[in-house]
């Protein structure tokens, strides 16, 4: 049969080590065989499914771009903060627009003793974020750095890699060709949060995901 023949030839081509496939190169070889993904679950099944790591990428920089502060971007990371603080790890918040309100975080199940807020002067923010990302004791860095250039993001991405830390940057501007591993655009809507995957390393999908409010686990 010609089709079978074609399939067989395709498969032999795919099995060839000389063929480089962009969609899979980012994941380790063990992941492909065992089905175990390296990501930290986001707490939203729909979002997990559309990301190549089935969760937040570990040891990498993530950008969340919102048109305004307060349009639900913190809801995206609350399940992650709950998970890591329950596991006894800490998160550092760099220059958040407001001081996070402890009762709200506590009622969301986050251990507030493991949340440290850092409010540096504007000129020292990037220095602080880089130091925190490079530190292995710190599991997650949330940062509102203000103006960022592609050069800064590349440097922070390298820091996240050395410190094995997940860095999440919140800002307003979509920087093209940024070195971050995952770039999400978040827009609040009437009954849901609309997420667009602008970039996810290792995947060409630009999914649009709608997360209804209060849908996380």
């Amino acid at each position: 049969m010609p089709t079978l023949d074609l399939n067989q030839r395709l498969r032999s081509l795919l099995d060839s080590p000389n063929l480089w496939r962009g969609s899979e190169h980012y994941l380790a070889a063990t992941t492909k065989t065992s089905g175990h993904f390296p990501g930290l679950p986001t707490g939203f099944a729909a979002l997990d499914a559309s990301l190549p790591w089935r969760g937040w990428p570990a040891n990498a920089l993530v950008e969340i771009i919102t048109p305004l502060w307060g349009t639900g971007e913190l809801q995206l990371v609350l399940p992650l903060l709950r998970r890591i603080s329950m596991a006894g790890k800490s998160a550092l918040w760099f220059s958040p627009p407001c001081i996070p309100y402890a009762p709200a975080l506590a009622s969301a199940g986050v251990d507030i003793a493991r949340m440290i807020i850092v409010t540096p002067p504007a000129t020292e923010v990037l220095w602080g974020i880089e130091k925190a990302l490079q530190d292995k004791a710190c599991a997650v860095v949330l940062a509102w750095p203000g103006h960022l250039s592609g050069k800064h993001i590349r440097r922070l991405q390298l820091a996240a890699l050395t410190g094995q830390t997940l860095g999440i940057l919140f800002h307003h501007r979509n920087i093209r060709h940024s070195a971050s591993v995952l770039r999400l655009h978040a827009q609040a809507e009437e009954d849901a949060m609309a997420l667009t995957v602008l970039k996810a390393r290792g995947s060409y999908r630009h999914d649009r995901i709608r997360l209804p409010w209060n849908c996380h686990e």
């Binding site: 048109p67 305004l68 502060w69 307060g70 349009t71 639900g72 971007e73 913190l74 809801q75 609350l78 006894g88 790890k89 800490s90 958040p96 627009p97 407001c98 001081i99 996070p100 309100y101 402890a102 009762p103 709200a104 975080l105 506590a106 009622s107 507030i112 003793a113 493991r114 949340m115 440290i116 807020i117 850092v118 409010t119 540096p120 002067p121 020292e124 220095w127 602080g128 130091k131 925190a132 530190d135 004791a137 710190c138 827009q187 609040a188 809507e189 009437e190 949060m193």
Partner: protein
């Protein structure tokens, strides 16, 4: 001045007593002895009853004891404070260096008399020297200024001591008196097992120790350590990067000092000396004692980078005066989870937080807390990291759990624009839920009566807004305010 010379026991001349350990005229071995002779230990005891008779105010007695012990350090390597008013120091090993016991005694008086004079205390004190610390102490406290060189003579010297001069409970002294025992020799006439049976093993042990039959360890006094190290630069340094090798040398010395003494430090003081006599002082406080070279170096470098140098540096000095005993963390047995300490993980994070504090200031690193309060402003607090909270912090009570709270609470409520009966924040608002009435007690300093609503604007922001029910001191106008954002 008390200048009575020592009474040498049994009319032995002190110096001769030391030298005639080996009988004259004995046949000397022709091969040189390879074993160096250890000097016989001699313990000098001092009794200064005036120290405890005139109690100094507010604990300065300990300071006086330590001051005396520190000055005795110039006479001996082993000094011990025998509370409350006596001292012991070993002179057998320094006898030859100082040139005999009488020389030591002269130096001792020259040391102590100015000290006692400065405290307006009587300058007279009691002293005794013998081969065992316990015997010296007994002799000194019995106020017989005696010098005993040889252990064999101790029994005879101690035998004359009245029993009431021993440091014994009053009941025991009466027991001796009633048994017709007045001096130590009376005790020694009794069979030793009978003494132990009648007066206790502790007492017989004390006697054995004073005769040198039982070891009597002495706890040596070590003064508070201080670390101070200087480094002269070979040329005047203007560039901060060029300072770093010098800083590292100083830190290496400090870490060696700390390792040798099993100490850690929390407070470093660095001084940079400038050409025109000026100094730049840099202080580093740590949250936990540390002696890790890498950690201290990182902190000091970060801190130096933030300091402006007014002039070239020609020398630097590192000084540490506050120390803490070093304690290492216990690791858990692999695979077995240990008991969870609170803040166990923040300990790993401390080096990073201290580095951030060193550059950004203590107030820039903050932790957040909950308080069981109705007033939303007081229910959540943020404080500089490491600051002790005055109140007991409790988890939010059940009342808070059903009511939703915003993740961002504005430091000050913002008045909302109102047009044609509609509220605006970026765009018109739609109420989602509410009201939730929050009132504080009328006696609380911040009296509030508010109805809280959750609203959403067209941009999709969920907002926590309230309606002020009465004009308070804070907000003159009754009206609508934005208080938080459910980000």
């Amino acid at each position: 001045m008390n200048s009575k010379p020592f009474q040498s026991s049994l009319a032995l001349h002190p110096l001769r007593a030391v030298r005639t350990d080996k009988p004259r005229g004995s046949v000397r071995s022709l091969t040189p002895s390879t074993k160096a002779r250890r000097p016989t230990p001699l313990w000098y005891a001092l009794w200064l009853p005036q120290l405890s008779q005139q109690p100094a105010i507010d604990g300065s007695q300990q300071v006086r004891l330590e001051q005396i012990a520190a000055s005795l350090g110039s006479l001996s390597a082993t000094v011990s404070i025998e509370a409350p008013d006596s001292f012991l120091f070993e002179v057998g090993s320094t006898l030859r260096y100082f040139g005999g016991i009488e020389k030591i005694r002269t130096r001792l008086h020259a040391l102590l008399e100015p000290l006692l004079h400065s405290w307006t205390l009587p300058r007279h004190f009691h002293e005794a020297v013998s081969p065992t610390p316990a015997a010296s102490l007994l002799l000194a406290r019995a106020a017989c200024n005696l010098l005993v060189y040889r252990k064999d003579n101790l029994r005879a010297a101690l035998g004359r001591l009245p029993l009431h001069t021993l440091s014994l409970p009053e009941r025991k002294k009466r027991q001796f008196h009633n048994s017709g025992l007045y001096i130590l020799r009376d005790i020694w006439r009794l069979p030793s097992h009978a003494v132990a049976q009648r007066f206790g093993h502790a007492f017989t042990k004390q006697l054995e120790q004073s005769l040198g039959h039982v070891a009597n360890p002495v706890q040596a006094y070590h003064g508070a350590p201080t670390f101070c190290s200087d480094l002269e630069c070979t040329y005047a340094i203007e560039n901060k990067q060029a300072l770093l090798p010098g800083v590292e040398t100083l830190l290496e010395r400090l870490c060696l000092f700390l390792h040798k003494r099993e100490l850690a430090t929390m407070h470093l003081h660095m001084a940079l000396v400038h050409e025109q006599q000026g100094r730049t002082e840099v202080e580093i406080m740590l949250r936990q004692p540390s002696r890790s070279y890498g950690h201290l170096q990182l902190l000091l470098e970060t801190r130096l980078n933030a300091v402006a140098l007014p002039a070239p540096v020609i020398a630097m000095q590192l000084r540490v005066t506050q120390f803490a005993p070093f304690s290492s963390h216990n690791a858990t047995l692999s695979g077995v989870p240990g008991p969870q300490e609170p803040n166990a993980d923040l300990n790993d994070l401390l080096p990073l937080l201290e580095q951030l504090q060193a550059r950004l200031g203590n107030r820039a690193v903050r932790s957040i807390h909950c308080q069981d309060e109705h007033c939303p402003e007081q229910a959540g607090l943020d404080r500089p990291f490491g600051e002790r909270m005055p109140k007991v912090i409790v988890a939010p009570s059940g009342a808070h759990e059903d009511a939703e709270r915003p993740c961002w609470l504005l430091a000050k409520p913002i008045p909302l624009r109102q047009e044609a009966g509609r509220l605006f924040y970026y765009s018109s608002l739609r109420l989602l839920s509410g009201p939730e009435r929050i009132e504080t007690h009328w006696w609380s300093p911040q009296e509030i009566q508010r109805d809280y609503y959750v609203a959403r604007n067209r941009q999709g922001m969920r907002l926590w807004i309230f309606h002020e029910r009465q004009a308070s001191s804070q907000h003159q106008a009754r009206g609508w305010f934005l208080h938080g954002i459910f980000a």
